[in-house]
């Protein structure tokens, strides 16, 4: 099982990164299954057990609202991300439930061409392995730095 889980999670990670980097944000909520939790926080808040997130969503509806707000309501300059993901580590397996940690680096590309490392950090994920695929139940994005440049519009 272990080897397969790693393979399934790697595929799910790749699909997730491509979804955001290809600007297919409308599909992003559908990458979450079952009880949904998506949270962006910082390493120091995570270490200290502080509850609030930079983004906090505990329903797929809240993810959908993030996307529609970005498309229709919020004001920000056009930008895109390039996710570079490291290798997932399996933290625990309990039946079909698998917890993993995956390091990431995200470059932000602004419309004037300015490209910079925008965030580095780790995904703490809970997956459920169903029919040979890893379905994402929960994702806590823990950014290494507590500084966010200007604003955080696109999901990490």
């Amino acid at each position: 099982m272990y080897g397969n889980s790693l393979q399934y999670i790697t595929k799910a990670q790749a699909d997730y990164a491509r979804c955001i980097d290809d600007d297919r944000l409308e599909e992003w909520p559908s990458l979450f299954h079952g009880p949904c939790l998506y949270k962006i926080t910082t390493a120091s808040n995570y270490r200290d057990g502080l509850e609030a997130g930079i983004v906090f969503a505990n329903s797929r509806g809240m993810l959908t609202d993030r996307v529609s707000a970005l498309r229709e309501a919020n004001i920000y300059e056009r930008q895109s991300y390039r996710h570079i993901l490291g290798l997932p580590s399996i933290l625990s397996e309990d039946g079909a439930k698998v917890k993993s940690e995956t390091p990431f680096m995200v470059a932000r590309i602004l419309q004037d061409g300015d490209t910079s490392i925008y965030a580095t950090g780790r995904y703490f994920d809970v997956y459920e392995i169903v029919d040979g695929a890893a379905q994402l139940n929960e994702r806590t994005v823990v950014c290494d730095s507590s500084r966010i440049d200007t604003l955080l519009a696109l999901p990490l």
Binding site: I54, T64, N74
Partner: protein, 418 residues
């Protein structure tokens, strides 16, 4: 990312345009103005937010922060009092403390030459002070009590710790005035705050552009579609602006008004805020009645760089730290209270989505200052127009006014002598 061209030194006219309705753009661009602000405002007779008392709950707790450019250590000593002093060794100027925060600290030692300080900022030890084997060491004339980092005056208001380098600053009660004090008490008074999260938003603009934005009730329901669409804050809602006598402190507040939902003023303006936008999960905006006065929004600022926010049940303090003429750090601390129920805590965390770097409302405040900073590049002899709601800096029931922005400049100019 947002490089600006600084004006030549001689581009700054000697005089500010008359009245409060014009702000010359050089004030956001000029390096010498930035340096003067450090001296006259941040080292001057003002109170500056340092930390929350709850962050220094026990003796030995400490944290580091900034007043303007100056690094500062804040401590709680064994006498249970709060102290603050410059985070700068009296010897050669190195940072004394490199950590953001910590506990159980009995002393602070500079890593460079191990000069040692107690939690009140007194120099208590100089390594090899008497030399080795009778040779070297400090001269007899060197007295430790004559050397030490500068200490700050401290004032605590409803759990907010303020500090000042100035001996001339009035008492915090006098500085804030009764109306502002009452409005701080309304949010924080008699309750034990709990920190829910801390984040820093790096703003690509001069610090004053963020303070203008905070005080600008005119933009709130135009730039921020969220506010308006969900009737969190319409200018036609009941509310008002309080500007204190100095001009430097302000409160903007509003209350839910069922009649406002029916008004046609917004439709007439053809603003973006009249969209069909709806939330798929409206629980984001479900609130509990925390203050029993109908006020769903209260933004309060204290000159020069402190903000206390109540947006529904999202309570936060914001500390603005200038980093360079075109760079500013905005430190967010999200708050709950010790007596929150789990449901109330969840409500605050959900409404945290409204504010901060990814806030449905606040993300825009994070970029709009940069739009101005870039927009005024090359226009240092031009000036902004602040005529909404007249030319004065007075309290009013209307929030279609720039009165509190004009108030900021009134206080700024009084501080700067311009």
């Amino acid at each position: 990312m947002n490089k600006i061209v600084l004006p030549p030194e001689d581009a700054r006219p000697l005089n500010w345009p008359e009245g409060l309705t014009r702000v010359p753009y050089w004030v956001f661009q000029d390096q010498s103005v930035y340096a003067e602000e450090q001296r006259k405002i941040f080292q001057g007779p003002n109170w500056h937010y340092l930390a929350l008392e709850v962050e220094l709950a026990e003796p030995g707790d400490f944290l580091t922060t900034h007043i303007g450019d100056t690094p500062v250590i804040v401590t709680r000593d064994t006498d249970n009092e709060i102290y603050a002093f410059e985070n700068r060794c009296a010897h050669r100027g190195a940072l004394i403390c490199l950590e953001n925060r910590g506990k159980h600290r009995k002393d602070f030692s500079c890593v460079y030459h191990a000069w040692n300080y107690d939690p009140q900022g007194n120099l208590t030890g100089v390594a090899f002070k008497d030399g080795i084997k009778g040779k070297g060491g400090m001269p007899d004339s060197f007295k430790m009590e004559q050397h030490g980092p500068r200490k700050l005056r401290i004032a605590i208001v409803h759990g907010l710790i303020f500090g000042s380098f100035s001996e001339d600053v009035p008492s915090i009660e006098e500085y804030l005035g009764e109306e502002i004090l009452n409005r701080i008490e309304r949010v924080l008074g008699g309750r034990k705050a709990v920190v829910l999260g801390r984040f820093t938003q790096a703003l690509p603009n001069n610090w004053k552009l963020y303070m203008e934005n905070v005080k600008d009730s005119y933009h709130a329901s135009i730039l921020h579609l969220f506010f308006t669409t969900f009737e969190l804050n319409r200018l036609s809602m009941k509310g008002g602006i309080i500007v204190d006598e100095s001009g430097g402190h302000h409160v903007s507040y509003s209350a839910i008004d069922p009649e406002a939902a029916k008004d046609v003023d917004y439709a007439k303006q053809q603003l973006r805020s009249e969209s069909e936008y709806k939330l798929a999960d409206p629980t984001l905006l479900e609130s509990f009645d925390e203050y029993h006065d109908g006020c769903t929004l209260q933004i309060l600022s204290v000159f020069p760089t402190f903000v206390l926010q109540q947006i529904q049940n999202a309570i936060a303090v914001r500390q603005i730290v200038p980093r360079a003429v075109d760079r500013t750090d905005l430190n967010w601390t999200y708050l709950g209270f010790a007596d929150d129920t789990p449901e109330q805590r969840l409500t605050r965390i959900k409404q945290g989505n409204l504010v901060g770097p990814a806030g449905y409302i606040s993300m825009e405040d994070g970029c709009v200052g940069g739009f101005v900073q870039r927009g005024i590049a090359g226009a240092s002899e031009d000036q902004a127009v602040l005529e909404m709601g007249g030319a004065e800096a007075n309290s009013s029931e209307s929030r279609v006014t720039e009165a509190s922005v004009r108030g900021f400049w009134k206080a700024y100019r009084a501080n700067m002598g311009i």
